[in-house]
Structures are given as C-alpha cells and as structure tokens.
C-alpha cells in the first residue's frame, strides 16, 4: 500500500466529482425576513426547499411529533428516512426550512449545507473560550463532512432547541485539513451525502463527547484562523449537539415509528418521529423492552447462530442489516454489498443489553439482487441485509429493523420511566 509498485494503474480520482458537486446549484434566496411563500428549486437532484419567515415556536401547533418519510430522497439510496428541519438565527424569526434531512439514530447533532442556506441567514459562529472559531470534521463510517460550527435555533415539529451548535457543511470553508480528507470520501454536498443534511438523534448529547475534551483528536474539532485550521480539544458543551436533550420539553429521548412494509418493497412510506419518552400521552414506553447501551460507545451485544457480535448498533443511518455470517451467500458484484439467499430466509437473533435485558428478534433476509432487479424503483426494501466483517464484532441493526416498530432512543443521563439513558427500546 505504501509501495506504489504494488498497485495497479491509478483509478479515477474524485477531483472531477468534487467539481461536479460544487455545480449543484445554490438556491437563490431573498431576505429571510420576506413574506412566506417564496420558494425555489435548487436543482434536479436536490428537492425544493422553502424559504419562509417562520413564526416563533410558541405560535406553532403544540406538537411533539414530525412526519418521517422514506422515499427517493436526493439520489435514490433505498431505506433512508427523512424529516424537514427549520433553522433560525437565534432569537429571531429569520429562518430556513430544509427538507430531506436524514434521520440518524447512529450519530448526534444536526448537519446542513451552507449551499442550502440563504446568504441573509447569518448564524453566529461557535467560539471556544480562547476565541478560536470552531470547525469540525465529522466522521461517518462511509465518509466525512467538513464545515464550521455555528449556532441556530433548531425547530422540529413543535419543539425548539435554542442556540444549538450545528455543523454547517461547506467544502469551501478554509482549507480542509489533510487528516480529515485522509479518512475517506467526502460527503460535502447533498448528492454525495444522499441527503440535504443529517439529523443525529442518537443516545449521546454531543457528537464526539469526552474524548474530544481530553485532547486534540485528529480529524474531529479544529480552531481556525483565517484559512488555517488546527486540531484542538473542545469542551463538551461547545460541541455539535443532539437537539433532543436541548428541547424545553420532551427532551429525554425520541421514538422513530414506521409502519410495516411489504416484503417485496414499496415506493415510499410515511411514519413519525415522536419526541420524549413517557412525557405525553403519545410517547409512553408501554411494553417496550429496554436494552441498556454502553455509556461510552452506545453499543450492545447481539448473538446469532452461536456467534456473538460485541458491537451491536441500532442505526437508522444504515440501509440494511449488516453482519458477517457464512449461512448466507453474498450477491455477485455489483450487488455484493448485500446477501442473496435463493429464497427469503427467516433468522432469529438475541439482543443483550448492558443492563442484562435479553430480547429475541426474528427477521427476514431476502435476495437483494432479485429485489433490486424486479423492484428497482423501490425506496423501501425491508429484506435488505449484507456482510460486515470476518472479525465478527459488528452487527448493524439498520432500517429493516425499524419497519413495523417503534424504536425508542433514550439520551444519556436523561431520566425516563425506563430509567436513565443511554438505552434503546422497542
């Protein structure tokens, strides 16, 4: 790998792609204080946004819910759940609503694109105690986002997180540090992210957490002077935050509720994201099983056919169930991301929380190649599963798990009727 002689000819570089992504048109927006009703379409691949002057939260319907859709989205990646999120300059009615923001229970914090905010929406920059302007390289398993940390009032449904640090993704902000771009592919445009943003509503209050407080961790937080950004340690309360624990009410967790989906797939479906656990008549824990998560990394154990996977992850940001098993054949390329059993297989796994709860889960795995070939236009594919690692540590409970369930995510340290987070329940 370090020896160039060992390599085949260079593959296509991404520079061309980056140039293409920059061409995604920037919404031409008027002043944020203008009357509602002005709308614009940003491009064929990015759904239209509305530029509105949103009334203060107190005038919105008192509601702790918002609609979630699984649909074609920005580029047609199956099994991606989306919501609309409104950002406002803190304390004002200068706002922008962004649709098709991905709901991600595997991360914490809101990330939107600078290119989708009107120039008039000037958000305050987040600074640390030394006056450094903060920027972030956010790490996802499938790429990174880069941009500055800014403060916004974040409105979702009827809830508001006031003056919350968010990431404003912008590949043109400063110079992307090399330790950031050395992680993998960039997700600095709606097309490459396959969404107009990410709403991280996982079990942690902040994205990086204590590790980024203790020391300057490469490829996480930076302090920037003009175009130069340097890795720095950042206090937890300055880091990009999960909006949920910073709502005034219904702030101990969330419930992602999606209807059951036809095994052969559907073009789209609509569910709900409900805020709070046991705080209203519509968010009781009921008979849901509470699975305690590791307070340091949010994982739990999963056992399947005698194999133990120590890092179970409940992740609406993954589009299938992903685990390594020799019991299922991997599809031929180019579908080798997924399994291709001859017929749909019924499997049963045991989920084990750090609180000692054990829960049997049955699930089905279909032939991904057939599902994609025969139902190519479907955005909802509940039988998708695929391989992970030979080392058998990872079991990703992605979107197929969420169909037909209400999946609770309780935020760390927040009290609920099921005990304090972090936990998941279903």
């Amino acid at each position: 790998m370090r020896d160039p002689d060992s390599l085949l000819g260079s593959g296509p570089l991404l520079k061309l792609l980056a140039a293409t992504l920059l061409a995604v048109s920037i919404a031409g927006c008027g002043g944020g204080g203008g009357s509602g009703g002005s709308s614009n379409s940003s491009s064929a691949t990015a759904p239209a946004q509305s530029l509105t002057s949103t009334p203060p939260a107190s005038q919105l319907p008192a509601s702790n819910t918002t609609a979630v859709t699984v649909d074609f989205g920005v580029i047609g990646v199956p099994n991606m759940p989306f919501v609309s999120v409104t950002l406002c300059v803190p304390g004002t009615t200068q706002c922008q609503t962004i649709d098709h923001v991905q709901v991600d229970t595997g991360s914490s914090g809101l990330r939107v694109f600078a290119s989708q905010l009107p120039p008039s929406l000037v958000l305050p920059r987040q600074k640390d105690g030394a006056g450094n302007l903060l920027a972030e390289c956010m790490q996802f398993f499938d790429g990174y986002t880069w941009g500055s940390v800014q403060l916004a009032d974040v409105l979702i449904g009827g809830e508001k997180a006031a003056s919350l640090p968010i990431q404003v993704i912008d590949p043109n902000y400063g110079a992307i540090p090399s330790d950031c771009s050395s992680l993998g592919a960039s997700r600095n445009s709606p097309v490459s992210l396959a969404a107009n943003g990410v709403l991280g509503i996982g079990v942690f209050k902040r994205d990086c957490g204590p590790a980024c407080v203790r020391s300057a961790v490469p490829a996480t937080y930076y302090g920037c002077v003009e175009n130069t950004c340097t890795s720095i340690a950042v206090a937890e309360n300055l880091q990009v935050g999960n909006p949920i624990p910073y709502f005034a009410t219904n702030n101990n967790g969330s419930i992602l509720t999606l209807p059951a989906a036809s095994p052969s797939g559907e073009t789209s479906l609509t569910g709900q994201l409900v805020f709070g656990i046991g705080t209203q008549s519509n968010n009781g824990l009921g008979s849901a099983q509470v699975i305690g998560l590791s307070p340091s990394n949010g994982t739990f154990r999963t056992v399947l056919n005698g194999t133990s996977y120590s890092r179970g992850i409940m992740d609406s940001g993954s589009n299938g169930l992903f685990f390594q098993t020799s019991a299922l054949p991997v599809c031929a390329s180019p579908n080798d991301l997924y399994y291709c059993p001859v017929s749909t297989q019924q499997l049963s796994a045991m989920i084990e929380g750090v609180n000692g709860t054990t829960s049997a889960v049955s699930f089905a795995v279909g032939n991904a190649a057939e599902l994609k070939l025969s139902r190519g236009g479907n955005s909802v594919m509940p039988l998708l599963a695929g391989p992970a690692f030979v080392s058998s540590t990872i079991f990703v409970w992605g979107m197929p798990f969420f169909y037909g369930r209400s999946v609770y995510a309780a935020v760390e340290q927040q009290p609920t009727p099921g005990g304090a987070g972090p936990y998941i329940a279903y």
Binding site: M80, Q139, D142, G184, A219, G320, F389, V390
Partner: protein, 111 residues
C-alpha cells in the same frame, strides 16, 4: 500515523504493527516481508488515516464510494477490499490489497 503506542509482532510471512491512536482506536497494520503494507484493520472511537496506510489505493477507495450507499462494504475487487462500519465512538473495519497479500497467507488474518 500519529500514535500513542506502537508494538510489532512478527509472523512467518508478515509483521503486525499494533498502533494505538490518540483517540484510543487500535490499528493493526499487516506488513509483508518485502515491506509492503498489505492490510490494515481498526477498531475504536475514530477512523484511522487510511490515506497514509493505503497509499495510492486510497484514491480508488474514495472513487468507489463517491456516492453514499450507507453499507459497510465500500469496495471489493481483485485490487482492493474495504469494509467500514459503526459510528463515532464505535468504528470498526479493515482494508487490504488482495494482490499484495503474501503467498500462503489468508486475507482473513486481517482483523
């Protein structure tokens, strides 16, 4: 790669460099007798510097994942295999160059 700890274990056909990053992520680099790094595996809170480890193959990794697919398998062909999964605070993955794996060594040692 910046490390807080680094140890080396030698096998018959290759050497394993165990590196601990400042975040606590543990990285194992698999180095053949000819000095070529043919594989890398990681587990921990943050991702490793794959550009430093993969060299020129990094560009092919990036190109293969230009559009997001939200699946752990990033690329798998006869020149490069990359799996990456998890989330901040709990990542795991591995990458290897099938053509650079020493004769007689199974790629499944990379983990």
């Amino acid at each position: 790669m910046r490390a807080t700890a680094h140890s080396v274990t030698s096998q018959a056909a290759y050497t394993v460099h165990l590196i601990t990053l400042p975040s606590g992520t543990v990285v194992r680099e698999y180095v053949a007798g000819n000095g070529i790094v043919f594989g890398v595996a990681w587990e921990g809170p943050t991702l490793p510097d794959l550009k430093a480890t993969l060299g020129e193959a990094f560009d092919r990794y990036v190109a293969a994942t230009a559009m997001r697919r939200t699946t752990p398998l990033a690329v798998s062909n006869d020149a490069l295999v990359v799996f990456s999964a998890g989330h901040l605070r709990a990542f795991a993955g591995y990458a290897y160059l099938p053509q650079a794996v020493p004769a007689g060594v199974d790629a499944s040692v990379i983990q």
